[in-house]
Symmetry: C2
Subunit: 364 residues, 2 copies
Amino acid sequence: MPESFHVVQESEHNALVEAAYRHRGYQPDEARDAARFCAEAARHGIRTHNAIKALHLDHLFGSGSHGCVPGAEIEELPSRFPASQVWNANRKLGQSVAYRAMERCIELADRHGIGQVSVDNAFHYLWGGGYVMDAARRGYIAYTNCTAALAEVVPFMGKFPTLGTNPHSWGFPTTNIIGYPLVIDWATSVVAMGRVQQFKREGKPLPPNAAVDENGQPTTDASKAVALLPFGAHKGYGLSLINELVGGLIGGSLPTLRSRWADDGDKHTPCFYFQVIHPEALAGGNFTKGRSQEENLKAVLDDVFGHGNESCVLPGQFEARFAAECAQHGGLLFSRAEINAFNEIATECGASTWDPANMKQVEV
Amino acid sequence: MPESFHVVQESEHNALVEAAYRHRGYQPDEARDAARFCAEAARHGIRTHNAIKALHLDHLFGSGSHGCVPGAEIEELPSRFPASQVWNANRKLGQSVAYRAMERCIELADRHGIGQVSVDNAFHYLWGGGYVMDAARRGYIAYTNCTAALAEVVPFMGKFPTLGTNPHSWGFPTTNIIGYPLVIDWATSVVAMGRVQQFKREGKPLPPNAAVDENGQPTTDASKAVALLPFGAHKGYGLSLINELVGGLIGGSLPTLRSRWADDGDKHTPCFYFQVIHPEALAGGNFTKGRSQEENLKAVLDDVFGHGNESCVLPGQFEARFAAECAQHGGLLFSRAEINAFNEIATECGASTWDPANMKQVEV
């Protein structure tokens, strides 16, 4: 069903987001990174992680709490491993850290074929898909995971939430083949807690095995749900556990302490992990029928999505379609409710509000 | 419910498996690698990928078909990337290739913090969990994926099987903490085709959304199931697609041609991908409360599996328990049906058969 959107110039969006971040004490370069990232999220239809969510998270867990420190400097720790770096982010804005870490991974992959950057004392980076999409568009295979802000997910066969929704994001350089990068990007819970709250408001049942009640029993009653379950039973549980293992090895806090700030001398920070592979470092050079590496990848995709599978949705296709709509309409697309939320942000930081009556409206 | 097993000395098992591989034309070192791997699978209760399955697969797709070439030499291709290697396995026995590739990844990780080996023209390596478990026991973080032999899985929202069951395997060095390595290891389909056939024989219904009928519609009727579905809807589908993307970039065949040998001048081989990370390359050095890296990881695991989650099964726990039973009983444990299958193998290669009457029996 088509939905009605207002068209906002990207420059206007970015100016407001930068002003909001500056108002909260962030440095100009941090505010620019934040705005750039929010524009990417909005452009790709990631409405759960656009500027409205970013600024809300910053209020709850970031500069409004103790989780994020405007103007913090990243400390690059010494490493004896040339393809690996570890950074202490000192709770710098997640988007600024993630953009730089992915950039460094690309440099390492250019030299070593593969490179990794681990980040301790991190803050939320919002949408891992955005960083891997960016690297994939530039021709790289990129991966990131992080420990999510809160422990909201119950381990398989457990009772109490001790895992984050712990997302994984992979990007593949397929732009020359299908017009956009394939981006595989999701949390390891069946649904997000925000979805549970939405379904509670709307009186709708949850999918089975998505949440548990206060006794740790699975429930489809959103009003009784207090914690989430991993997707795919033991398989999604294993994927969620990976982020806790990687985070624990980097130096992250106990999952149940994460983002729950207290003056207890303990750590409360999540971790990020980034990895980039140069596609040429995978190429066996023995592509059948004289194909190039890219032609072989195209032939594989044509095979997977042939044979009656032509209507499958590819991971990243929705995001690419939304970006095409934005390009066609000449701006970022926001609903009326989102415009109202932006106007609250404008009021908070003393910027001028947007008048929906003066904005182009489109159906998408 | 306890099950009855016969205890087979590992040396006796390995001698028979080596003889069987030698009989099929494999070199002594290949036969040793095959036996070592089969013993590892049996020791860890991986009954779907023990020697019986290994030799059956070799018959169907390996030396009995065109998929595997006894005595083939691995060709290490030139690479300009110091942390990355690509090998042309020339269809050498999968277990021999995988052991060597994981060994090389460890060497690369020792130098660079992370290392990867991609393998073109591969043959089946059976159970990825075995290789990552081995590396994790030695203190490394290890990962492998491969393109499964046949395209048996229908992409999300598709109709025709064009993806392999495409497994992923991760191992983490937790032996000092919990007594065994955490191993997260599974295929990306809900069930294997072998399970569908078993349920068909037994007249049992399949789990929902595990398989499709000839029209591409989901069915729980095992007798109508012709292809599999990924676990976790679009999430497992994305994970399955990753292996096809990596395989396609390495040089693998089209999924629907894989292991379906024909003199068509095309490729029919799967690919392997291996990656090892040195845990020190992740360490931020800022572990709270004076903990070491390992102590911090232990604290994270204690947190995840505390709070009422003490009865959760950890990934790798079942395998570790089975190995403990084998150690306690002084040998590898096989059911009567498995002993019969080994005796068929012995007859095939002219070795002496095992007499169940003379074997120690245990309940596990």
